[in-house]
Amino acid sequence: MAIFSTNEFKPGLKVMLDGDPCAVLENEFVKPGKGQAFNRVKFRNLKTGRVIERTLKSGDVMEGADIVDLELQYLYSDGDLWHFMDQTTYEQYAADEKTMSEAAQWLKGEEKCTVTLWNGTPLTVAAPVFVMLKIMETDPGIRGDTATGGSKPATLETGAVVKVPLFVELGEIIKIDTRTGTYVGRAK
């Protein structure tokens, strides 16, 4: 793997830190007038999402991390693993529950997901930003109530539960923002 020096640490660069792949978020040059030059670097641990701040002597190097983002189609889940396919190479990848994390609850099949591979194996999976899902269970709608701003829980066809406005009905298809897990609107 490539080696990167602190002066190559641009936001987005992927390097290995304490055995985990990390993305550089910020790289600040710090130097006392008469002293050693440092780079104060913020990293995001790509496994845990946690932000870590470390300081390196300017000119120090870190090993690059073999990280690739792929657009893969979600095929199915066998209960333990979620299977994806690269539609250009037909290569298949499997992600476990931990890797799927929040993404699993939004997927029913055929969605295109961003799968981050580390050394060729899925590290994280991001569901499409917006998904359209059918409401399978919710309290009866209050017709025309678009003004009070109240909400109620609704269970979707994937099993996910989201808060929806009171006027939304059972069986309707709604649009969800998967980054926040919130209701955006009814399907047009």
């Binding site: 600040e28 710090v30 130097k31 006392p32 008469k34 002293g35 050693q36 470390r54 300081t55 390196l56």
Partner: protein, 319 residues
């Protein structure tokens, strides 16, 4: 595509810069300190291992080949030669150049105010710097020793702590590099854990640095010896660095040679010992204290800015 031809500093800041420079010149005139100019283009690259010179080629019109010259990183050596020649108190406001320095607090070319006071010690000079800073609208300055401020913020004694303990503290503080030089470890702790907290209420002088950070300062007689050096911090930013100037030529030569050895180990092979400075010191550098103040950073802290590009008309990216 339109280029970024416009200044990155507002016209208001450029006005403030002009005003601060004229206030400084007025102050210096009142204190009978002579304004001088020394060359930007010099023969000896800086010896300080932590500072890098830019080099350029000089072609003489009637000579074949070229001569390697450097842009000065500070006017210190030339000004000391003037002191040795009997100039008396002198100052200058000049651009200096440092390679490998760029960031929110660094532009590779920046404006330095440097002055020297024969017959002053560093505490006298801190008084005078404080007076100037106050004249520019800042509150009265306060002073803390390096040892005390280290103890306050980290609970360690920087003069006595051993290497293993120091490495532990640095690692815990987020230093990723395994370092075994005391100076590097102290620099890390100081610039990450201490400096950002300094000078928020009142401009703060820190004085008496560990001997490993002596630069060209005199050492005192304490055990272990400390460098009679000070820095000024305002709003967490290093603004000035000064010291009792080393006048002992054999000690000066020793430090040059130490730096040369270190530089050859780290591959910084460019610099040659500035024999003219040593000869000036042999002839006699008067006992004096000197200080350098970063004018760009001074403007930053006057305005409360956190980016040096906001006070320089054309920083390096649009120079």
């Amino acid at each position: 595509m339109i280029t970024d031809w416009q200044p990155s500093a507002s016209l208001e800041i450029l006005g403030l810069r002009a005003q601060v420079l004229s206030q400084i010149r007025e102050f210096m005139a009142k204190h009978v300190i002579l304004e001088v100019e020394t060359p930007v283009l010099i023969h000896s690259a800086v010896s300080d291992p932590n500072i890098q010179s830019f080099s350029i080629n000089f072609h003489k019109p009637n000579q074949p080949g070229e001569e390697k010259l450097y842009l000065h990183t500070s006017p210190e050596y030339a000004m000391k030669r003037l002191l040795a020649a009997g100039s008396g108190p002198i100052y200058q406001i000049i651009h200096v150049f440092r390679d490998y320095e760029s960031g929110k607090l660094h532009n590779p070319e920046f404006t330095l105010l440097e002055w020297y006071r024969p017959g002053y010690d560093y505490h006298n000079l801190m008084d005078e710097v404080g007076e100037l800073i106050h004249r520019l609208g800042f509150k009265q300055t306060i002073r803390m020793s390096y040892g005390d401020v280290f103890d306050d913020f980290t609970g360690i004694d920087p003069h006595q702590i051993n290497m293993v303990e120091l490495q532990k503290v640095a690692k815990k503080g987020g230093l990723h590099t395994a370092a075994n030089e005391k100076s590097v470890l102290l620099d890390f702790i100081f610039s990450n854990k201490i400096a950002p907290n300094l000078g928020h209420d009142q401009p703060t002088f820190i004085y008496d640095y560990p001997a490993c950070q002596c630069a060209l300062a005199k050492l005192n007689n304490s055990v272990p010896p400390q460098a009679e050096r000070f820095e000024l911090f305002i709003s967490g930013i290093e603004i000035a660095n000064g010291f009792n100037e080393l006048c002992d030529v054999s000690e000066q030569r020793k430090r040059f040679e130490q730096e040369a050895r270190y530089n050859s180990q780290t591959g910084k092979t460019d610099h040659i010992i500035d024999q003219r400075l040593l000869d000036a010191m042999i002839s006699g550098l008067p006992e004096c204290a000197g200080v350098a103040i970063g004018i760009d950073r001074l403007l930053m802290v006057i305005k409360g800015y956190d980016d040096i590009n906001l006070v320089i008309a054309f920083p390096v990216d649009r120079a």
